[in-house]
Symmetry: C2
Subunit: 135 residues, 2 copies
């Protein structure tokens, strides 16, 4: 199968500390780590949930993609990230089905993972991120 | 830990057949089954993704909760469902933290699972469903 796992579910918030009071303190998810991702102008908190994770995103700069999303849609679900076996094969398969891609070739993160976004227009309004993790 | 897994991610669509062309045909998720859930006035398609699943929802009646959501927000991510060990303990813990619940006591599905919804006002704009599966 192409898709191996739901790697994470990303949620946009205006206030990471307030979001942690629900997801960590009230619901009991463990906080794995927080980080600031300069390339995306975002502060992130990662909370594992079984084989997947909840990823909380707070804009780190006005005008960033996540800040614009928050202004337009309000806080809530932002995207889902699916881990695939072979990201280039998956992108080729999607393109062959006429799916519009935000990233036609994968980007590479600091940690070696390769990732790409599918355009929500082609995914029923859902922003879908694909990951291929390093072996 | 309270939360065992992300049971599913629910996505609202106007057209289940069109949504399946992306999630099943292009992305390659297997279709486990489709069903009509009379109590929720919704048609459902369940596509496993690793230990979790993508659940596509099409309103089966005008005026249903999902139809109203679709009219207001458009197609896209609808809710996430977390599987917990003990749903009553989880609901009590949430209430003790001042979290607003849609269901203060769990409902029971045809298949014996117990479920409840947390109000998105208390969960940063995210509709959160909790499941406790039968043993």
């Amino acid at each position: 199968m192409t898709v191996k796992a739901v790697n994470h579910i990303a949620i946009v918030t205006e206030d990471l500390a307030a979001a942690l009071r629900f997801w960590r303190d009230a619901l009991g998810l463990p906080l794995d780590h927080t980080a600031e991702v300069a390339a995306e102008e975002v502060k992130v908190a990662v909370l594992p949930a079984g084989a997947s994770a909840v990823e909380l995103l707070e804009p780190a700069a006005a005008g960033s993609g996540v800040a614009r999303y928050l202004a337009k849609r309000g806080p809530g679900l932002h995207h889902i990230c699916l881990e695939v076996e072979d990201i280039e094969a998956t992108l080729a398969r999607l393109a062959a089905h006429g799916v519009q891609l935000i990233d036609e070739t994968p980007r590479t993160g600091d940690d070696g993972k390769r990732y790409a976004f599918v355009h929500p227009k082609s995914a029923g309004g859902v922003l879908v991120e694909l990951y291929q993790l390093p072996r």
